[in-house]
Subunit: 474 residues, 2 copies
């Protein structure tokens, strides 16, 4: 495809996206297809001859779109949002257009240096501590996801235990500490890093706040030490996936400090809320105690997936765990020690110019625009929570400081199991309608509906409509 063909077809694709975004409400938010429908509609064999891009766009409309769940639909309240915005899409487009690979500084200095600048900017916007900056001992990096970020943190933590796991492998029992509400990526990291799911300890939580109990954490660590295991990493969560509960980072951090255990803070969803000074309280204890901290601009900060920011208080154990220098990657700049080679900060070797999208977002919206996005969506969620609280047919889970509201219809005459089943039925009926999309969680044996606001397309009227439909469905 020549540059001139690209110019022509590229504008067609831009029009396609603009039209898609403008008309997104005409689609059912959750795809209505059954397993295999999309696959069966596609040819079984690849084309022998090249085709026009028109044909790609036609099949996109006719075959793929019915199979798409529209994450950018204003009625998408499922999971957490996966924010997308114009400047982010265009930042990613520039990255694809440049087609550079930034595995080491030398392979495209701007790819590395812009990343350092934007993660430093983001740390400043979130009020994160100065020692997370790359010009101190720490530093930030963009990962594809919080799962990969926590794996990197875990490998650094393993290395810091002094067992030289990178070289010798796992030779003792290492333990990780989570709560029942910690994201599954922690168990995943334990499986991946050779620690094993059986060595993930589940710390009790406070039945009210759902936050991790620091005293029980301390007991579990003591028991592991007693048993000869190596307490390696604790994960505290700011904004759990289930309900956006917040672990007491400061108290957990004090335990970690006393016990010499790495503290990872998973603020994947909620961390970006700290662009608003009135929400910075969520990070209490992070500056003093966090060895690593992760938040995802791709969830709630207007930046397309994938863009997860990871900061470390000290980058040395991570680099020790991950750095290998084969001959074909040797270069003067790396050997000078004056540059960052982000290949040593992540699982894969290669890397896209991902900072371009975050840079585009930070510049287009400015700090002011980002704060407005967080505040607007929090306000909508609080208004929704107020409606739920005011309705005797519903029960609201408190607190809900962000833009996720968990609630359930009350079925006072039904046993829990039947009430849960009815709640599921309500959710499925709503999701089948195509007008909105909710997911669920389970707390204390009870099924709760989760309504997560956060798409830039969601306005007050969409939340009102959702509430009307939920009420009618129950």
């Amino acid at each position: 495809m020549s540059p001139e063909e690209f110019r022509r077809v590229g504008k067609q694709v831009v029009d396609w996206i603009a039209d898609y975004r403008a008309g997104i409400e005409s689609f059912p938010v959750r795809s209505q297809v059954g397993p295999g429908e999309v696959r069966d509609a596609l040819p079984a064999h690849p084309p022998e001859r090249g085709e026009d891009f028109d044909q790609v766009l036609r099949d996109l409309d006719e075959i793929l779109l019915p199979g798409v769940t529209h994450w950018q639909h204003p009625g998408f309240f499922a999971y957490f949002p996966a924010n997308s915005s114009g400047p982010s899409i265009l930042g990613d487009l520039l990255s694809s257009g440049l087609g550079v690979q930034g595995m080491v500084w030398a392979t495209s200095p701007a790819c590395t240096e812009l990343e350092t600048v934007v993660v430093d900017w983001l740390a400043e916007l979130l009020g994160l501590p100065a020692h997370f900056r790359t010009d101190a001992a720490g530093g930030g990096v963009i990962q594809d996801s919080a799962s990969s970020a926590v794996l990197v943190a875990c490998l650094a933590a393993l290395q810091r235990t002094g067992e030289d796991v990178a070289r010798r492998g796992i030779t003792r029992r290492h333990a990780l500490y989570v709560s029942a509400h910690t994201h599954s990526s922690l168990e995943r990291a334990a499986r991946l890093a050779g620690i094993g799911a059986d060595n993930v300890r589940v710390v009790d939580t406070d039945p009210e706040t759902l936050g991790m109990d620091p005293r029980h954490l301390d007991e579990l660590i003591a028991a592991d030490v007693e048993a000869g295991a190596v307490p390696t990493m604790v994960c505290a969560t700011i904004g759990t996936t289930s309900t956006t509960a917040i672990d007491p980072v400061r108290e957990i951090g004090e335990v970690c400090r006393r016990r010499g255990v790495w503290l990872h803070v998973d603020a994947a969803y909620a961390g970006v809320a700290a662009v608003c000074p009135e929400l910075r309280w969520i990070n209490d204890g992070v500056a003093e105690f966090a060895d690593s901290y992760c938040t995802n601009p791709h969830k709630w900060l207007l930046t397309n997936f994938d863009c997860s920011a990871l900061w470390l208080a000290d980058r040395a154990p991570m680099i020790e765990a991950l750095s290998i220098l084969p001959e074909y990657l040797r270069n003067e700049a790396s050997e000078s020690g004056e540059v960052i080679d982000y290949r040593d900060w992540q699982v894969p070797l290669g890397r896209r110019f991902r900072s371009l999208k975050l840079w585009s977002v930070l510049r287009w919206y400015g700090a002011e625009g980002l704060r407005a996005h967080i505040r607007d969506t929090v306000a909508l969620a609080q208004e929704f929570a107020g409606w739920v609280r005011g309705d005797p047919d519903f029960e609201l889970l408190e607190p809900h400081p962000f833009a996720l509201v968990c609630f359930r219809p009350r079925y006072p005459d039904l046993p829990v199991d039947e009430a849960n089943e009815r709640t599921h039925r309500v959710m499925n009926a709503l999701n089948d309608s195509g007008d909105l999309y909710l997911t669920h969680t389970k707390i204390g044996g009870r099924t709760l509906l989760r309504l997560a606001i956060g798409s830039p397309a969601t306005e007050r009227r969409h939340v009102q409509d959702a509430w009307e439909r939920i009420r009618r469905a129950t």
Copy 2:
């Protein structure tokens, strides 16, 4: 940014990319900036107020471009190519525009099903065995990179040893087998998976072919078994990074079969060459013996980074190693067993709609166009190799079946170290010129220059110019 603003600015960005591609030869291929130059030219703090996209594009031109090494420049002969093409860029743009997250089938069925279709198409195009298809016991998946792919393969291999590593962690010594020419991602996988770099055995290679010696492999495995270690995975490479050497997959596979060891085949660069029937010999033994196989369309098959295809002969141990099902991801489709949830096939949980770019490439070029791209670049490399072979001042490394040529200037009167240093100086001078970009490797103590052809922008005249410059520089 409203859809209408996106339409306007998006077209500006498309024009920017078209102009960049059309004028790419006006840039020095390798960036000429020093450490910190780009960073120092960017503001130390993020903007408080939003800015126009024009300002982003202005800073891209003025501040970032001088720091970009132009991987799509026709004079880029370094590393391996990172192919990019119009349809691929636009496929990626559609993925960003849709902004869906395909972690499980239910979160966007089309995202999963198109991926299954295109990896099956690609397997067919490459003549890979039918049991690599998802409708058999195996299946293919798109990873970000061959590094992540080999980590996934390694986790599956660990699980298949019967030690239940996912649950219990690493409790015995596990060993991986590579050669000195295997990619560093294997040692990285050993570090990440808790096996440890010390448990990566380096099998001897044939001094002529640089291929792994199956007899020595067998001896090393026997020694490990004797010592109580668990031989876990062998990596055979088709097209090493240094020189595109090919390990004898069939003989290695026979050893693996007899010893019950997982065979991963890393064909990251060269595997895509099998779109041409006359190059399918490279995969001899894969159908019979490979447990996993990886090749990167993002290197040499016109698809933007990141797009690495991994196939497995049996997906069960991988899913056993990686699958966890928290409540908030439970859904009817997953529980029906009728769908694929690709989150169990990779390190991160979330995933982009990456198949759109590979689909766009396969449709725009067709099998015919892909074969032409491989044949044209191989032909250019063979012509270049002929010029080197015919020049008494140079020594050529044979064989060079793909589009990488390794060679060195002859300095008959100099000791090896000095000759190596002179070769490095020649390379640095060429790279400093901005007209071309080469990298190096070291074989048997001797530094060789690597000239990798593969960018769609590279024409015969660029290769001729490169040769002229190399001759003049030595």
